[in-house]
Symmetry: C2
Subunit: 240 residues, 2 copies
């Protein structure tokens, strides 16, 4: 493990083993971890879990069994190291497969909460494509896409249970349409901006699986910087 | 005209005749007027124009012919008074009919911009229903609804032309889904909040008619009050 760093999200105490050559967690991960309100018990899924940073750290917030679903072997192997090193084998289960096969491992309508930091970019949008293939798959819709992620979420979630997601505001209308098409109703969104006078660069979404319509709350923005320093709220989220 | 007041949006100089017993323009109207960037010439439509406050005031921003489409006779009659009193009969045309019949007056694919402040509330949501029937129809989806408004917008607009709308954030996912279903792509949204720490209570949307997908910009919030007074931006919008 000589090439690996150990990082901790928001002072949770859970050590995440990372390989900077592959993919490391970033601000998106920290913000989604903090935004999510997982069920306190039962079963939680981290879809597109990568190196497991969010799912494994959620053991700090919940007693639920946590399933990590990740396609890429290199990232799953890293997640397994973090599970082992934190002695979390009893609580965290790894599924190293395509999310389209998730029902081979987990029954439909059995999951109490899902967290998901999916690939953000359409394949056509290759302006930001990286040479590193692991990173490319994590960021671009090469192996999965938004509608597959939301379909899997709908299948797994119990009725009236929540999906917590981080996404790009540029694709918000597509996200909302796809959510409604999968009867996931956005209940709460929060936009994230570098500074209060900039366009939003991230959006956090809390959606519920329901056949009913729902009323959306657009919560106060999360602003990261003011006068060149972290805002009080950003500091408290990042440092925990 | 003894029961009528005269009001002016944002120092435009255009006098709007209003009957407080029926329906008067409010902050939503002023914000949409300011958010809208109508084509400088050609033809513009104000859908659900009410007493004409936005459409008639847009003569201050554009030389285009402006069509007001309003179902309610009482409000159309008021709009005609404002058109007459401002000597705008050459530029502003009144269509007092249901927007589902709009193609009887205007050909499809001929409009350069649309502004629309539609009824916000579903009929089932009668918690805010008013006794005043004119106001009830203006605020609730009694005579029209979101999908009809967006369908009419799609039919009227030229390709790559803009729809400017004000709506309630509570229904944003439904709005976006309906827009995409009518191949109107949200390009720019701006949330409006009473204060920066409150949930948004309005959203301004700039959508474009196109078969392509589009990238959405979530612009900086418009905050109305700070420390009990108008913010600088709100003051400049409201006072013109």
């Amino acid at each position: 493990m000589s090439n690996l760093s150990q990082d901790i999200i928001s002072n949770s105490g859970v050590r995440i083993f990372q390989d900077k050559q592959l993919y490391s967690f970033n601000l998106d991960t920290i913000l989604l971890y903090n935004f999510a309100k997982p069920a306190k018990k039962g079963a939680v899924v981290d879809l597109c879990s990568g190196n497991g940073a969010i799912g494994i750290t959620l053991t700090h917030k919940t007693k639920a069994t946590i399933y990590l679903v990740e396609l890429q072997k290199e990232l799953s192997d890293l997640a397994q190291i973090s599970i082992n090193e934190n002695n979390l084998n009893a609580q965290v289960k790894l599924i190293n497969d395509d999310l389209k096969n998730v029902q081979n491992y987990i029954s439909h309508d059995t999951i109490d909460s899902i967290v998901c930091n999916p690939p953000y970019f359409a394949v056509e949008d290759n302006s930001k494509m990286k040479d590193n293939p692991v990173l490319a798959i994590a960021r671009h819709e090469i192996k999965t896409d938004l509608s597959k992620v939301l379909y899997a979420s709908k299948v797994l979630l119990k009725e009236n249970s929540h999906l917590f997601m981080v996404y790009r505001p540029e694709r918000l209308s597509e996200l909302f349409k796809n959510m409604l098409d999968n009867r996931l109703q956005p209940k709460r969104v929060r936009f994230v901006r570098s500074t209060k006078n900039k366009d939003a660069n991230l959006v956090l979404i809390d959606a519920i699986k329901t056949v009913k319509s729902a009323s959306l709350k657009v919560e106060p923005d999360l602003v990261i910087y003011q006068d060149g320093e972290f805002t009080k709220e950003a500091k408290s989220i990042i440092e925990g």
